[in-house]
Symmetry: C2
Subunit: 141 residues, 2 copies
């Protein structure tokens, strides 16, 4: 399932845990216990902007974003989903999907650039990843 020549950007690698692979994207958990925060990365080398993906891959990407958002909302407390494709610092195409609650650290502001990440304690990320993995179906594969 891994496209030839695709390598995850080291800055994304450094701040995430691997969760699962969908047909186009790898799904990663941001290593920040303040927020339930997933990141989708299409396994296509050299991509920066969604609009530059071939149209069938754009469609697949949005399908997977919606799938990941639905899974996340069902798995954790969520008052509002936040979806963002920024890439101002790490240009490799990636899309954030977050479950926000009214008492989270950054509410109601955006999470990007907010304070310092608080890495998961040992075992805590494994539990969250296991929960999420069990909810992903092959609907989006």
């Amino acid at each position: 399932m891994r496209a030839i020549d695709f390598n995850l950007d080291p800055s994304l690698q450094a701040c995430t845990h691997y969760v699962t692979s969908l047909s186009l994207c790898d799904v990663l958990l941001m290593n920040d216990a303040r927020f339930p925060w997933l990141v989708l990365v299409p396994r296509r080398p050299g991509m920066v902007e969604m609009v530059d993906l071939p149209s069938e891959l754009q469609q697949q990407l949005w399908h997977e974003i919606n799938h990941v958002a639905a899974v996340l909302r069902d798995a954790v407390p969520c008052y509002k989903l936040n979806i963002g494709a920024l890439g101002n610092i790490t240009r490799q195409l990636h899309v954030h999907v977050l479950a926000r609650t009214e008492n989270d650290a950054a509410w109601p502001g955006p999470v990007w650039g907010f304070g310092q990440a608080e890495p998961y304690a040992e075992g805590e990320s494994d539990a969250r990843i296991a929960l999420l993995k069990s909810r992903f179906t092959d609907n989006a594969s």
Copy 2:
């Protein structure tokens, strides 16, 4: 083209100028001269989350987001597109599409919640709206 019972949220109305209507969304220009900033609002009453739209409307929304992003990038200087669906403050479903540059006021952070909006001078928003309107095709209609 306006769905019965759809009303733009007053807080979105207050901070935007109308640009055009696509088949699902109204396209608005954020009244903030610091950033080329468009907002898409699906004309469907009561919608909050993208994942709760019927699947054909989800697909149409993503099609229109990509169309708006491509139009914006072609019309103004753009180093990186930023696309975001937050809705933490205004829950009516709306999607932000921005053209970011490395010397803009909030770079490389997100624009949401950053400082105070700087309204366009009289005539300035009209010029930007006219430019954008001329670039929208009915591809997304």
